[in-house]
């Protein structure tokens, strides 16, 4: 349809459309595409950010992956391991709790809109504001938690408490988004299906397992993948709350990447890029799964 209406001029070359997309295409190339590929290229070089990179082949990857004596080896595996741990600790709750909240909200009890607003609100805050908000909740001697419950937990200085604190802070920050997605999905479920299940004598729990869960299968997978990607990018929470401690047990990969490239006066950008490329590959694989799911949904 649109072809016929707007395509009349197409016999002669029309530059207008290109002028309309040009600003963004330039921005895309300069600030996304070029840095993206240059980052991968830099991972094969020795580079201090200011001089020209020197090609070293796979050396950076060999160092971070296999040379046990190297600090970079230790940093890479420690950082990657901690990042993966965080994803594993965080994501299951980031799916389950919003699901419970969404189901409760779609029952429309009194004040459900208020509840929904409260759960969504923290997603608006920046990570630094969130960490400042929580900083003294878990503080050992000044904190709200230890005072209210009469405990003496050393939240930031001992494991597993440091992880627990980081996961709780992150959940408070992120839950709302998945919850809204589930609410939208559950509201869209055909009521007659629930009714039919009810007539067939299905209990609430059975209806949940056999009707609600299959109906929102797509949003469930979507949120699973997007939450995994989001948490692989963890950086601000450990940086500000635990400083990577205790004993670098919450030092995540992005913190090492940043420190190597920008932390000292002597940037080790090549090795840092190699670490970033590895992290990017992991995230890329997860994104690819997401893209495939989205395509499957659309067809």
């Amino acid at each position: 349809m649109s072809e016929r209406v707007l395509g009349r001029k197409s016999s002669k070359f029309n530059i207008t459309p290109y002028l309309f997309i040009l600003p963004h295409v330039i921005l895309f190339i300069v600030f996304f595409l070029y840095p993206l590929f240059y980052g991968v290229y830099a991972s094969f070089t020795k580079w201090n950010l200011f001089n020209d990179p020197v090609w070293v082949g796979l050396d950076n990857y060999k160092t971070i992956m296999f040379i046990k004596e190297s600090t970079f080896y230790r940093q890479f595996w420690n950082g990657l391991g901690n990042t993966v741990k965080f994803v594993l600790f965080c994501v299951p709750f980031q799916i389950l709790i919003p699901l419970v909240l969404a189901i409760a909200i779609t029952q429309k009890p009194i004040g459900y809109k208020f509840f929904q607003s409260i759960f969504y609100l923290p997603t608006m805050f920046s990570i630094t504001a969130v960490t400042l908000t929580w900083l003294f909740i878990f503080n050992r001697s000044l904190g709200l938690w230890n005072h209210l419950l009469g405990t003496d937990v050393n939240w930031y200085g001992e494991q597993p408490y440091a992880w627990m604190a980081l996961v709780i802070i992150t959940l408070w920050w992120c839950l709302g988004v998945n919850m809204i997605i589930y609410i939208a999905a559950i509201t869209g479920i055909d009521q007659s299906m629930l009714e039919a299940a009810e007539i067939d004598g299905a209990s609430k729990f059975q209806r949940f397992i056999y009707v609600i869960i299959p109906s929102i299968k797509f949003p469930l997978t979507y949120t699973l993948v997007s939450s995994v990607i989001q948490q692989f990018n963890i950086y601000g929470q450990p940086l500000i709350v635990t400083g990577g401690g205790p004993k670098e047990s919450t030092f995540v990969l992005l913190m090492y990447i940043r420190n190597l490239a920008f932390g000292t006066g002597n940037p080790i950008a090549g090795t840092s890029s190699a670490m970033a490329t590895c992290l990017g590959l992991v995230i890329g694989i997860v994104s690819l799964i997401q893209l495939m799911l989205l395509c499957k949904q659309n067809t």
Binding site: F28, F32, L36, I118, Q297
Partner: protein
Amino acid sequence: MKKAKIVWRKVPIISFIILFVFTIIFIIPLIWIFLSSFKVDMEINQAGGFLFFPKTWTLRNFAEVLNPNNKQLPVYNWFINSIFISGSHTILAVIIYGMSAYAYAKMQFKGRDIIFLTMLFLSSFPAVTNIIPLYKVMLNLKWLNTPLALIVPGLAGVFNIFLIRQFLYGIPDSIIESAKIDGANDLRIFFRIIIPLARPILIAVGLFCFTGNWNDFIWPSIAINNLDRLPLTAGLQLVKGVYGVQVARISTVAVVAIAPMIVLYAFAQKYFINSISLTAGLKG
């Protein structure tokens, strides 16, 4: 239909309890920092490090934190910087994304779909490797330590164009055609017809761009070294280092940081919630 609704209404008591308990958990940190921001740090120390309610209510923390002459932690400057940076970014984003989306959705030109889909595909590549080269680009452009470094690179996104494009497909071509017959050029059509008609999606995209840019953390903390020129989000990471364990002052900074977002949320809640469903591809 009716029966299902009646049956489902029996559950809300349990639902209410679950939601109530979670709300308490969610609200406590907020109440705690709001209360703490009115406390006097000295009195907290005298009380052995913990006070639930302020002993003396004071606004002095706010006066100190927001003082434009506060050189140590220029929160006021950061705040102004953030408004300027995120505001400029949002206006530019809406115009640039809108123009591109208009071309991709409503104009005929060679390579249209290939260009767009290629960019959409490439943009899904994870951006963790970008930061280091982006720093180099900024260095060459001499944009480090300037607002440009925080306003411009974020405009390279593609997903928002996708959202606007999808919306523009719903606008009938006849409207555009009749404007053309009346002699309007494409730029005029874009500003006079497309922008008003696409308002809902442009507001959603604008809000996303604003909050996304406002909340960006890792990039501003790398691109800006000058204390006075930091935006709020990146600046806040320095608060702990300066105020240490002064609960009242740090809580005040946290309140100052989250209050604008609470206000924004109160006014634009509908748009935020709608746009989430939009991005998740669910459409309500």
